[in-house]
Assembly symmetry: C2
Homo-oligomer: 504 residues x 2
Amino acid sequence: MAFVLIGFMGAGKSTVAGRLARLRGRSALDSDVLLAERFGHSVAREFELHGEESFRAAEEELVCRLLGDVSARDVVALGGGSVLSARVRDALDGHVTALLEVAPDTAWERVQAAEDGSERPPARDREAFGALYAERRGLYEEVADAALLWAESASGDYPVFVGDGLLDGKDGGGDRLVTIWPLAPIASRPYGVTDTNVARLYGERLSALGDPDAPPEQIAIEPGELHKTLASAELVWRELARRGMTRADHVVALGGGVVGDLAGFCAATYQRGVPVVHVPTTLVAQVDSAYGGKTGVDLPGAKNYVGAYHQPAGVLVDPGMLATLAPAELAAGWVEVLKTALIAGGTLWERVSAADGCYVDKRTILDCARTKLAIVSADERDGGRRQVLNLGHTVGHAIEAVTGYARYRHGEAVGLGLLAALRLSGAEDLRARVRELLLARDLPITLDSANVDIEEIVAATARDKKRLGADGVPFVLLSTPGEPQIGCEVADDELRAAVRELAS
Amino acid sequence: MAFVLIGFMGAGKSTVAGRLARLRGRSALDSDVLLAERFGHSVAREFELHGEESFRAAEEELVCRLLGDVSARDVVALGGGSVLSARVRDALDGHVTALLEVAPDTAWERVQAAEDGSERPPARDREAFGALYAERRGLYEEVADAALLWAESASGDYPVFVGDGLLDGKDGGGDRLVTIWPLAPIASRPYGVTDTNVARLYGERLSALGDPDAPPEQIAIEPGELHKTLASAELVWRELARRGMTRADHVVALGGGVVGDLAGFCAATYQRGVPVVHVPTTLVAQVDSAYGGKTGVDLPGAKNYVGAYHQPAGVLVDPGMLATLAPAELAAGWVEVLKTALIAGGTLWERVSAADGCYVDKRTILDCARTKLAIVSADERDGGRRQVLNLGHTVGHAIEAVTGYARYRHGEAVGLGLLAALRLSGAEDLRARVRELLLARDLPITLDSANVDIEEIVAATARDKKRLGADGVPFVLLSTPGEPQIGCEVADDELRAAVRELAS
């Protein structure tokens, strides 16, 4: 069983396959390169000389032979059109196949920029290119076991795999499928970090990672934000040391935001840094917190005060895991989907605002991940652009702090924070729409003013602004989905009015 | 009082002045640029047209006027020859002057590579260039309050200032000289982290940092390696939070290796990273541990197991502080000087091996810092070249571990480790010389075999190798000063013989 990359021309299959193959100490196998070698000239030239039909026949034969001949350590990149062949699709059945995601505009730009003359005729006209993309997309999705996003940041690139049953094994057979996802070098031993709840649900699947004869170590902390502490981190560090983890090994963070933040921080600092693979199990983690490299733990009364930026070595997302979440947890997580859709605008906003309930499909998870990754890659360390991600969080954090992190879930507080931010943005219609969406999901849309002191929330917001210091930027506002504004000054009385409105 | 950079042509004064000025929200003032503006053509052209004498007169006049007209926030770069003028030297008296260090070969290369035609006639002949460098060096050193090395690394550049009485204030008058060293943005508040011993000796000088009306916060941990723990780190993090430190502020680490490692780690992780300025007070810290960005704390039985790479924002070295060290501490620190000299070879080795006692001069500190920085900049995260710094440390660490970090100081153990490494390198003459040098400083040259188990040391060394994992490299060997070899395989029986020899 090998690892096979499919996808549209210009998706970057050759480059990504090369990076993944290097993890396994191999070179990638690239069907277009192999075909060009056989032809004695480029694939484009072959198209011109003998036409598409003849080319497809040669491709089918080569790809089928290639797929019959590879081993589990191989990484293969297939030409964009090769999956048109039913024989090729059959041959793919025995392998793990990932669809490398690319936006059509990006693909078109890359194909235009390629100067080696290897591109085929369909790339010569933007309209035909778009039509071909739309036509093939469904086929790709049908064939692939998972989607693959390639995340890029200043401090490293990494793969994000999204697919149902990723940890179940192909066909749910538990056949250690996960060992085939190229996330860490083959000799690197995984050390699982999780919480006791998740361990009960998914601990066994985690044991599918790594060497079958030596299942990975598992370290479980107590669940919940109350345990995102230095004490939990110390437990993890000591256990990693006691169990002999070396710098060549890696951490697998299996859980929600708390586990991801804490395990990521432990990985960032264990022996001055080991890789971490995130396997997010909650909606917030799957659409948001697993990406971007922010890790940390809380000090008493000071959320995320100790931490590090540490980009993951990879992220494995199985949307099927969301089925085990309690409805209120899922709804709270959905608020981050809503926030991301407001920031992204466009089709993501249309899809999210039109959908019912809190379940999200693979496409929405991918779009949320892509949105966050695009923002983070432009500003890894929170200097500017990344602050758009704080939409709804300034007031949200204050509500959480004032209510002792006990009354509202993080997502619930952010939902209220979004309403305040939209009020401050003067976006009344949009605020009404967001209010409806929250209401329809049984999410809170008002503060319980009998028990929550509005002035305290205003004061906590001001403290938060101060904490950021001279470089801190006060507010993210948004009048239109897709157009967040950072660094907006907000007067205290406007803020007071916006928070007070939540209490009425 | 402004900050003025002097030094040879090609030292990089303009570039460095620009970076330092940016910290203060200013542009640097560059005498050569101002002169060229006045002439209406380049300085080189002026030399050609009217000769050196006329140029020097114009330069003297401009520089004296400039120095009379600047404020404390200004950073000034002076042309290489300007300090030849006694009037200029007098004018410098009212300012803080740093000599930007550069090796003559580097300077020559830069001057040759400069294509803007701004260089003056002396740069046209390597021999004359070298003679001029040698001639001016003494004058520069006499004029400067401190030497400045510009450290470069993949994750950031920073200044290293070395000078007697840096924290005393100019002329020892305690006139907050230190506030003028451009290490952190002017609005950034310093938070001192130190230990209780150092606080007693130097705490008051630390209060010269920062705003006179609001002296900096000071947090003191218990002294010694036994307190390089998560508990001490937690104390520091909590105090920083309690005292309202923001991401715009910075930590000042005042102390030896333990304080530097711990405060550096706290800075690396407080709110996901704030700048740290190191003010090393011990010899080990001044020549070695303050540079290179390795930070961390110990887990029980596992040295430096939790940490981060975090390059300093700057390093301030006052060799005068060494006078307060206990003789045995100074001697143990001197072993790192010896190690660095062995790695560097050349004039550093000649100077160190010829000197008496353990005190080192400014030049030796600078050369040690430069040696370490050159190695680290090529390999910030320990992938390869940086491992040369482990010369003598593999067996040294094992001796420390087996003796419970109680019997030998770190430097003493490294001295023994150096003897073992030189034995393994087959460098008998060099080993004899190093043995003499250690002996002359009352440093241990044998292991007390009645109390130390040789086999345990061999086993601990093997464990250490294993801990490094697949990428770990076993031994650094060295036959000739200046030529360390990394990644040398050493058989267990050779190792045993080398350690056993220490016990005889």
